[in-house]
Symmetry: C2
Subunit: 430 residues, 2 copies
């Protein structure tokens, strides 16, 4: 007779209820592959009385999820609430302390408290699994921890946020501007009603913190990482970029440079023939550059009930197989601390769109600022608007230091011809 | 004190010696992650006295590798000899019977004897790992077995042979013909001195058998699978395809159609904007279409010492972690047998290049054969050669049955205007 393993699901919205359905459907399959029978014993939701498509027996509902961590008939807790604080945090800490395995899709929680949680899990010899927290449809965490375990990873980068990628792709395809496309994304369910943390890059940054800690065998960085979103990307930028042979993508990049760590999330111009330039819509894609493997690429849907459930069940199977694993691949004491690379020394070429008054002397005044900051110009397009005596100046620079760009931008803003803060986008060699 | 695990490496050529180097270099890392110390106790090679870059202590060399399976101080045997018969087969069977874990890169052996070997491994409670046998740099086997475990996979397909992909890409880029490019590939080390099994599709077919057995939870098919290579692809085909919006790729495709299995390896015309069309050079790429995950894509280098060593070490770590796993994810008795789909009922559109005598009536004669076989023509290009009264007729057909194409080809060969066997390439919707 196979052993029954009792499961509690906390958080029963879109993701939780879909996951429950998929789990019930795959019970036999999972049982065959793991030798254990997963049984959903308890479910907790903010609103138990909400109308749902699936019928849940009354006996399964539990009002206070925090009680679950003390119950003897609970083996595994699925935390699907979200957020780095509040109930999610309390629940996961309490569960691990009480020797319950925890499976979570919560990137904010993992990015903020992952190290402490891993420590508690390790001490209590239970699993803390979080494959669903980064790029659900892509088994990226497992691939780094197991499939690519032999590799010394130098760089891990990619598109970690489907919402912003959908928005950038749609702007290009539909020639509609940012806010129209954001509305469309909301209607299609590709953006949340409040998509701020997607748009400003914070969502990607949380995922990047998790990935780079596994890839580089290090503690989760507490550094303030360079995080810029796509809110200021204009339709004109997308089309100028295209004209110049580039696409604009919100990339998350983590790499070791001179033995130091540089993590950054920002829009990038990348060559339009490159692999990542052709990842469109809600897709996510991650490139792992390691030795001896070379470049490994994984691509798939990043979010949504299907991909997330796929990840949750892979975590479940791992727990059911009875493998107690260190949450970050190695024991906490062996995870390194890596010094932060001084971002002001980051070196790249860049794209700038500068909106100016179209008056005599403007070009010489602007280009002089570049010269003063020792930034040399590779391409320049000046595009006057006929109506209002304004013009756009588009500039691609040669490679230079981040700190010089910062000064350049300060100088540009102060210039009498410049109408508003220029758009500055780094060009990434990939 | 960590336990030491004794390893024997059998086969010490290009791959074996590189793997040894990487293993020695990563010893501490592996030990940290698995809790065990891997120690290379024995090495066996066809020619022990061969000059090598690495120095191997005499005490490690063993002449007769078959003895290893009986030795008490051997825990894991790496089989890196290759070939489905001979010593490789004897060694792996004997090792598993004598309760040694086996890690192999041998796709021919796994494709032919994988089921029997898995049975022996299971009976003796040891691991049989073979991640390196398919697309070394891509952790595909582990991803299907673990990361995507929740999914009902409908189709798995991709580019599984780097040599042929390099050749097709190079023909397009260099505008050189097949044999020149094959020579170049040999010089660069991207093709073996005898690349027949790469070129004729057999290498891809062996890998496909392995993948589809894991993806569909089934025994390895003994079916003769449709296997066509790239030997007959001509430079002109590549350029006509390009003109028509396609690229030619050697794809391996396995899918369930009407509850039956269809496995095939053949050149395909695919839309030149599709993902796989843009996988160039020696890269491999695999697409997994499953529920609930959607399409997951994995891409990386398929062969060579680096990627292969990466896969071998991931297998090693899995064994060191002490997880006894079923080699194909589930116990042998639960792996299904899936009936073979009748390939003559396969339905697709196609590309044909027909070399003809350029005489009056030729076009009407050729198109009549199409009409007689109820195959309707979508595009037709006729291209006369000025010099020799010959012409090429390029035809793209609407969708039709494989059996009708077979008849069509028979009829075409018999036609008095047709100079040689037409080139027939299936168009794949992807």
């Amino acid at each position: 007779m196979r052993e029954r393993i009792n499961i509690a699901i906390v958080g029963f919205g879109n993701i939780g209820s879909y996951f429950y359905k998929i789990l019930e459907k795959n019970k036999v399959n999972i049982s065959t592959k793991t030798g254990k029978i997963p049984f959903v014993k308890y479910i907790s939701a903010r609103n138990i009385n909400k109308k749902r498509q699936i019928k849940i027996p009354n006996s399964k509902w539990i009002k206070n999820p925090l009680k679950l961590s003390l119950m003897n008939d609970v083996d595994i807790i699925f935390e699907l609430i979200g957020g780095s604080e509040g109930i999610a945090k309390k629940l996961v800490f309490a569960a691990l302390r009480n020797k319950k395995h925890v499976i979570t899709a919560n990137k904010a929680l993992m990015a903020k408290y992952g190290d402490q949680l891993a420590h508690v899990a390790e001490k209590n010899k239970v699993n803390l699994e979080y494959e669903a927290s980064v790029a659900g449809g892509i088994p990226i965490i497992r691939s780094i921890k197991d499939g690519l375990i032999a590799n010394k990873i130098n760089k891990i980068y990619g598109i970690l946020n489907g919402t912003t990628n959908f928005i950038l792709s749609s702007m290009e395809n539909s020639r509609k501007n940012f806010s129209d496309v954001v509305d469309k994304a909301k209607k299609l369910g590709f953006a949340e009603s409040n998509p701020v943390s997607d748009l400003n890059g914070n969502d990607s940054a949380a995922k990047l913190r998790i990935l780079s800690s596994i890839a580089f065998n290090k503690m989760i960085s507490k550094n303030k990482i360079l995080t810029e979103g796509i809110q200021n990307i204009n339709l004109t930028d997308i089309f100028y970029a295209k004209e110049l042979g580039y696409k604009i993508k919100l990339l998350s990049i983590s790499e070791i440079k001179k033995k130091k760590l540089i993590e950054r999330v920002h829009p990038c111009l990348i060559p339009n023939k490159s692999y990542l330039a052709n990842i469109n819509g809600v897709l996510n894609a991650i490139v792992i550059d390691g030795l001896p493997v070379g470049k490994s690429v994984l691509q798939g849907e990043g979010a949504g009930p299907g991909p997330t459930s796929s990840a949750l069940i892979s975590d479940l199977c791992s727990v059911l197989k009875g493998n107690i694993q260190y949450p970050f691949g190695v024991t906490a004491s062996l995870r390194k601390k890596i010094e932060k690379f001084d971002i002001s020394k980051h070196f790249c070429s860049s794209y700038l769109r500068i909106e100016v008054k179209d008056l005599p002397g403007v070009l010489s005044s602007i280009t002089k600022i570049f010269a003063n900051n020792k930034i040399s110009i590779k391409n320049l397009i000046q595009n006057p608007y006929k109506k209002n005596k304004k013009a756009s100046i588009i500039i691609i620079t040669h490679e230079n230091l981040e700190k010089n760009y910062n000064n350049l931008l300060l100088n540009l803003i102060r210039n009498k011809f410049v109408i508003k803060k220029p758009t500055f986008i780094r060009i990434e060699k990939i």
